[in-house]
């Protein structure tokens, strides 16, 4: 019997020849990621008299949710983080000088194909874009992982999305993952592992794959894999912290279900408040007034996303009644966008460039919404109160749709705007 990506990784990590869906296993963790949550982990372990971690070289810590500290309370939490990192001798600590965790860990070469990775953040599924089994866990479980390097897992069923066709101009992987959430619901992959396969999956850039793996959790998934290929190998050249081998599912692996999706006629998609699966095509969303537009987050704050926005905004002005926030996902992205002129284009158009952090995405700081305000955002969640007031509304869309909307002052179709390939000419 062949095995899926999830089964292969969980069988290797639990030291078993083969595992099957439904089985409970205890697996060794290859890498653990914690952001500000490490403060809580530190306090929990101290409370039971535990003063060291299982392997300081297999833990990556950084600050990204509240940087620079937005309140006195978080300044104090950051102090605990710095103290914990020193006490435990954590080898890979990036502080507030790297960016958002799910962008930084791949950039710094920590995320490698075949790894089992847990993080104190639900969007840890992003690492599936590199063929790693990444998944989010809570603070108590992370404390247990820090202490023992192990955790129990239920081997998930796997479903596949077989992706074909080519995206129409200014339609992107973000539109596709929103479309999947809308068509199949936010729990189509509950407890399950997802594999995105097919010619379109192979065609996609790593950035586009990361957007889909990131939001796999929004359809309930435990893991959101792409099969790692030469694009992954090339990206990891000069970055990878250790040697690795590519991994693929077995030819005769068993899948619960395979959905066939052709994107050739896909329209830009918008998720309406207050759930990620409340999705409509752009043609049913046009003309809704917006007050804020936001391009950033671990979902869509990469160079590819900023380029798309810059193409649309170049030589134009953001609508006077709209504030456009742009958050590069990492310092590396920030630097690249600065060097190639993207940031200048965005600033000229009237964008506010913010430091790399999670800030506005989950309503912590750097641009919240007041009551009865609308925001269109390239982020991953639109729950009630997500970006500030519970009386505000958040609409989810691609960076192209967000940029086009920022110009119009209302939700706008990006398909009439500058198209693919024109950035190089700008």
């Amino acid at each position: 019997m062949g095995m899926t990506m999830a089964e292969k990784i969980l069988s290797r990590a639990s030291g078993q020849y083969e595992v099957a869906p439904g089985q409970f296993v205890t697996a060794k963790i290859d890498l653990a990621m914690a952001h500000e949550a490490i403060a809580s982990v530190f306090v929990s372990l101290a409370s039971i008299g535990w003063d060291k971690v299982w392997d300081p070289s297999r833990i990556v810590v950084l600050l990204d949710h509240y940087v620079p500290a937005c309140t006195e309370r978080y300044a104090d939490i950051h102090k605990v983080v710095r103290y914990a990192v020193k006490q435990w001798g954590i080898k890979h600590y990036y502080g507030e000088r790297a960016g958002i965790c799910h962008q930084v860990l791949p950039e710094k070469g920590h995320v490698l194909p075949g790894m089992l990775i847990v993080g104190t953040d639900s969007h840890t599924t992003t690492y599936g874009a590199f063929g790693a089994a990444g998944t989010g866990i809570g603070f108590s479980e992370m404390a247990y992982v820090f202490a023992t390097g192990q955790l129990w897992f239920k081997v998930p069923e796997t479903i596949r999305f077989s992706l074909t066709g080519a995206f129409p101009d200014n339609v992107f992987s973000k539109d596709l993952i929103l479309f999947l959430a809308g068509k199949f619901s936010s729990e189509v992959a509950q407890y399950k592992s997802v594999e995105f396969i097919g010619p379109l999956a192979e065609e996609m850039s790593l950035s586009s794959r990361m957007t889909m793996s990131n939001m796999a959790v929004e359809i309930g998934a435990k893991f959101g894999f792409f099969v790692p290929d030469q694009k992954v190998s090339r990206f990891l050249e000069g970055r990878a912290k250790e040697s690795f081998a590519l991994i693929a599912p077995d030819a005769h692996a068993r899948y619960e279900k395979t959905y066939e999706i052709d994107v050739s006629s896909l329209e830009p998609q918008v998720a309406f408040p207050f759930s990620v699966d409340n999705v409509r095509p752009i043609t049913e969303a046009r003309d809704i007034q917006i007050h804020q537009a936001f391009i950033g987050s671990c979902t869509n704050g990469r160079l590819e996303d900023l380029h798309v926005a810059a193409k649309i905004l170049r030589g134009k002005q953001v609508h006077p009644d709209v504030r456009l926030l742009v958050t590069p996902a990492s310092w590396e992205v920030y630097r690249q966008a600065m060097q190639d002129g993207t940031l200048e284009t965005l600033i000229d158009a009237g964008a506010i460039i913010e430091n790399s952090s999670c800030g506005p995405c989950f309503g912590a700081h750097l641009g919240l919404l007041g009551s009865d305000e609308n925001c269109i955002a390239s982020i991953n969640r639109n729950f009630k109160g997500r970006m500030g007031s519970p009386k505000a509304q958040v609409f989810l869309a691609s960076p192209a749709t967000v940029a086009a909307s920022a110009l119009e002052g209302k939700i706008a179709d990006p398909r009439g705007c500058a198209t693919k390939g024109e950035w190089e000419k700008c």
Binding site: F24, W152, Y191, F383, P390
Partner: protein
């Protein structure tokens, strides 16, 4: 050991998310304050009238959304003995076990209970009985190690007990 538990039922529907269980606006509040607002958007009576030992029976995807551990913590702080749902958001499911809040995944339970009826739960056997109607429904049995974690009162208590052993 996980004893058989009996309690009055509070019913909830599908897709109850963690933002509704513990609203973000109370995230920095102490637990004593936060617990007063648990699920209030769904049923304002719930946080005021729930009694220690009561159980929650819900539909699909209970606890979906963010990974905040405050969601099961606050339910536990109200004294709720256990949560039964047709399915759970994955991280809520794990967090509940990690903090020692018993849960049963039982697809049929919700349709066989009305609010206020009496339930009897056998966690190791994953049995959900409606004592008011005398019906029994089977859920998914948890693995031995997971039951050990629940018996110990959570994953950190389990870690501590094993270290002492």
């Amino acid at each position: 050991m996980l004893k058989i538990m009996r309690g009055k039922v509070w019913k909830f529907g599908d897709n109850v998310d963690t933002d509704v269980i513990t609203p973000g606006i109370y995230m920095d509040a102490p637990m004593e304050e936060m617990k007063k607002h648990v699920l209030e958007a769904m049923n304002p009576r719930f946080p005021r009238e729930v009694q220690p030992g009561d159980v929650i029976i819900a539909g699909k995807n209970f606890g979906c959304g963010s990974s905040r551990e405050t969601a099961p913590n606050a339910i536990q702080a109200l004294g709720v003995a256990a949560v039964v749902a047709a399915s759970f958001g994955r991280i809520f499911f794990r967090n509940a076990i990690a903090i020692g809040l018993p849960i049963i995944t039982c697809p049929q339970a919700a349709e066989h209970f009305q609010e206020g009826e009496e339930a009897e739960l056998d966690i190791p056997q994953a049995l959900v009985k409606n004592l008011t109607r005398d019906s029994t429904h089977s859920g998914e049995v948890l693995a031995g190690e997971v039951l050990d974690i629940l018996s110990a009162g959570g994953i950190l208590a389990w870690l501590k007990s094993r270290r002492a052993a």
